[in-house]
Amino acid sequence: MLKELRKKLDARQISSVELTEQYLRAIKEKNKELNAYVRVLEESALEQAKAADNTIASGEVHPLTGIPYALKDNYCVRGIETTACSRILQGYIPPYTASVVKRLRGAVLLGKTNMDEFAMGASTENSCFGPTRNPHDTSRVAGGSSGGSAAAVSADLAAFAFGSDTGGSIRQPASFCGVVGLRPTYGRISRFGVLAMASSMDTMGPFAKSVEDIAILFSEVAGRDTFDSTTTDLPVERYSEILERPLPKFRIGIPKEYVEVEGLNPDVRKVIEDVVDALRKKGHTIVSVSLPHTRYAVPTYYVLVPSEVSSNLARYDGIKYGYRAQDAEDLFSVYCKSRGQGFGAEAKRRIMIGTYTLSAGYYDAYYNKAMKVRTLIRNDFNHAFGEADVLLTPASPDVAFEIGAKSDLLQMYAEDIFTAPGALAGIPGLVVPAGEVNDLPVGIQIMGPQWSETRVLQVGHFIEHLLDR
């Protein structure tokens, strides 16, 4: 879609202002019900669109000039309220802009999208602004934590959107909403200016309608950033052009532990198997691989992430910005009451687990132990990638569930079964719509070794066309 929009804009068949107005109208129509956006920036969007039209007239365009998009509300944009959908950051106006946003040159920001508070959740139900509804069935969740961004793209409320993925928060909503989502290799896209959750696992990534669009977006934002010292200086290609080349014959690995997961809906498994069959018929080799430590990934994740969260969320103290409790008698209670009142339940849970796991006497048994199991999980993937070029798996055990259905917190954690392992290993994961179960979208996850986005995008593009999407 992005290539077509670029052509239309450059040929003046449509102006950026007209395009932006179309999206703003759609938002007015649908957002009340979907709650994808928590903040619509009508005035500034139209200003940006006007500026884009001038740029287009001058001929000096970038791939995204004049194209409207949405940002998850953990991306800081200078001068625009950013809250991570938490009460504790109400009214926070960042004095700087996230690097990813700076690299989306010429694009028009329509607004900020809904998310689970501080990206903690798998359904966007943990937001202080209420849940986002799935455009395919509004009684169901859009997934999380980037549910708003996924829903916005799915419901044509933005041409593309950005979200974040720490344990599956781009991949699972992409699957639930029937859009394409990419979790890049950790270190490929700058984290600067995005409110941190778990610094060793947070990644920033795009949602779009096609793999080609994802490839275009990836080329724009990937690469070394001096503001994020964990980014690599590996060269950034023009990935959308690479997609036009014929696909090499790949060894496609199916991890047997994923297929055997107890909670995996058999109809979802069938969707994945059908894709695998189609690939086999096209001459690709299908191999069964083993990732023996798969079932330890979610527990490992839920030691490491809360630990890092407890550290990253310590800065929200009612002093420099955000919510401050009015009933505090002294400094200590300013901290305690602001945080106690400002944070939601899941945030408090994770902060406390992390405080415990990092505390003296427990660090070895929990945090250090989990870091070692993380090594075992990484080794599983390294071994599997000796036998296969990419791995194909479900993105989620089932289709989108009903709002309120997963009231048990361990049930919610189990949503991450297919996405947490890749996050722990730091490898990329692309989710592409693969079919439907009961008219609800099912996505397929394509994982590759670190830094293998080219391969992962190529396979995703191929699957997309195989399924005639």
Partner: protein, 98 residues
């Protein structure tokens, strides 16, 4: 791993979280369940395994010690809750109420 109410109080104090009585009860149960759940990591023998603290292998990205950007003070303080003459206003650091 079963946490007691006292455990939760201590953790909440370390984490600077003030919790209501209902919350203390709720979290006593929830945190215990989570810790029980993650205990399964002890099924694995990791005595000879190195810990992974980062996945990129990148170390020590240096840059020159040069200030090349500006953060205007007014903007930095724009979101501050209580300000006075370009500073943040906070309650007294010493003399905590008991």
């Amino acid at each position: 791993m079963r946490l007691t109410r006292e455990d939760v109080k201590r953790i909440a104090e370390l984490a600077r979280l003030s919790l209501s009585e209902e919350e203390l009860t709720k979290y006593e149960d929830e945190l215990s369940r989570i810790l029980d759940y993650v205990d399964q990591l002890n099924e694995l023998d990791t005595t000879t395994v190195e810990a992974t603290s980062q996945v990129t292998g990148i170390v020590n990205q240096w840059r020159g010690d040069v200030v090349d950007y500006e953060f205007p003070r007014e903007e930095m303080l724009a979101s501050a809750i209580e300000k006075q003459e370009g500073h943040l206003n906070v309650k007294s650091i010493f003399g905590r109420a008991s």
